[in-house]
Assembly symmetry: C2
Homo-oligomer: 331 residues x 2
């Protein structure tokens, strides 16, 4: 059977069965591998970026591609509440790529890492048919957040506002690039800010479970729920919409929920914590100009559901994202 | 300018100038990035393996490809005297690859990591035009070995015997696969054993500098020399030849030195230490069935030279290995 037929999801299931809960970062397990060394916990995560799969050259500059790659990788450290230490970069460079492109990419990686206190500490370079970059982020954490640990009655909160990255992709796919009115959406796609500082600000609170929204709120909520052995109920009307998403959804003739609940590459945090902790958490993030919104609750059961304000279940046409074929993964 | 024209070496020089001595694992810097966290030093290294560049499917099984990838990565931990903790695996899988191949590869990676005390702790999967795997090895070390630190008068010693991997490649390229007489050479290429345990056995000795021979003894000696601000003199007649290399060189009509001094993928250690420590070091490795041979000395000056028994300089046709074009890098 071809790998593409078997599917990435099946591969992840196989990995989970084969390597157990200790395996992280492939749609199950925690966002980063957590290793004990001496008196610290080291968090390590790896994130591959492939031309044609994760980016298109006509959409982004090489500096933007480099920055986005770092953001995606650091977001996994934010998800386990780790402070970045270092970044490593493995590059696969096709023969015809310009030296200037490689320098622009690498400079952007190093600069972005430095903004978050991490240094570019090493890597590898090789020839390759298509461009790829594999980024490794290493961080340290005293008290890592896991996906498991959510408790019945916990509030599910998200940082920031959702929907912009996939709305921007949908617009770009329709060739809507230059329009000034979509610029904010595009910028959100090009530069999702990993919530490193925000996670550190919440480190003193009793967070029960967390992850970053990389494949869509609903799919990632189902992962948190599965790891915790519970059910996530998301209220569609509570999901904070990023600026421009409603307008873009109208222009595209698609429901805004598709972007806000089903859209990936958000790199916002989804956190489960006791409802009475929400005001304190909100206060701590307000100083950092980061909104925190309750989008649902943890209840007994399994899976993740999207409910309207009357508690009726809403089904999205597709939820979440898979590299091979884009089949629905949860709902 | 195309990246291929600029060259990997030029890119490494640019990286060195841009990111300084702290950048590791791209032909300069140390073999692994060394990070301080709490009371431990964490060593992290990343190694990309690309189809058509690092392996050919008709030469190796997928299990062998997986094992080799791990060996190459763990060898970088051995080079800094680190004990493996965990491995992460980023996979780029082309659509037409079989699911069985991906499972065989991943199983081999996990099993090999386990043999060296490391667990497969995470990773990433993505679609890609050609197959690639980026392996991340994380280890811990109390007293890391660096490339810098060699002293005038130090003996340069190597573990094991050299020449087999590139002799095997030369034979494979001539289609000499099945011949039983070359089987030992091929096995040495398919399964280079990283010197993890050997490095740990030497951890109590005052090793001044070390690296693993991944791009050829002479080129890697020049890297150790450059990092230490000194000169490496290698005596060609002292280099320990792996079994079958002399015979293969004769059959191929090429000088055996080309394989033993210029051939990469050895994954043996090159170590600089005080000459009076050599007997103790040799004794410690003898228990592990690992020979240790003095191949030269560290002297004042710069670069690395290959000398015959009378002290006359020998030039190799090519020394060391670059992904783009294979130009000589040292001599």
């Amino acid at each position: 059977m071809r790998f593409a037929e078997w599917g990435e999801l099946a591969f992840h299931r196989w990995l989970a069965a084969r390597f157990g809960a200790g395996f992280s970062g492939a749609g199950f397990g925690d966002d980063a591998a957590l290793l004990k060394s001496g008196n610290t916990r080291v968090a390590v995560t790896t994130d591959a970026v492939v031309e044609g799969v994760h980016f298109r050259r006509d959409w982004f500059s090489w500096a933007e591609i480099g920055r986005r790659a770092v953001y995606g990788c650091l977001s996994d450290l934010a998800a386990v509440c780790a402070q970045p230490l270092a970044l490593l970069l493995s590059l696969g460079v096709p023969e015809d790529l310009s030296a200037a492109a490689v320098r622009a990419f690498t400079n952007a990686v190093a600069q972005t890492a430095a903004e978050y206190g991490a240094r570019l500490a090493g890597g590898d370079t090789t020839q390759s048919k298509g461009f790829f970059a594999d980024l490794v982020a290493v961080g340290e954490t005293k008290q890592p957040w896991l996906r498991s640990g959510a408790q019945i009655g916990d509030a599910l909160v998200v940082t920031g506002a959702l929907g912009a990255p996939t709305a921007a992709i949908a617009l770009l796919e329709k060739g809507q690039r230059p329009a000034a009115r979509w610029r904010a959406l595009r910028n959100r796609l090009a530069a999702p800010r990993p919530r490193i500082i925000e996670a550190q600000a919440l480190a003193c609170l009793p967070v029960h479970a967390a992850l970053d929204i990389s494949d869509g709120l609903l799919l990632d909520a189902s992962r948190l729920a599965a790891a915790s052995g519970l059910r996530a109920e998301i209220r569609a009307d509570l999901i904070p919409l990023a600026d421009g998403v409603a307008e873009a959804a109208r222009a595209l003739g698609r429901p805004e929920l598709e972007f806000a609940a089903g859209g990936g590459e958000e790199y916002e945090l989804l956190i489960a914590l006791a409802a009475e902790q929400v005001p304190t958490a909100r206060q701590k993030l307000a100083v950092l100009n980061c909104p925190l919104t309750v989008v649902g609750h943890v209840v007994e059961g399994s899976g993740a559901v999207l409910l309207d304000s009357r508690g009726v279940c809403i089904r999205l046409p597709t939820t979440g994202w898979e590299h091979y074929g884009g089949r629905p993964q949860a709902g």
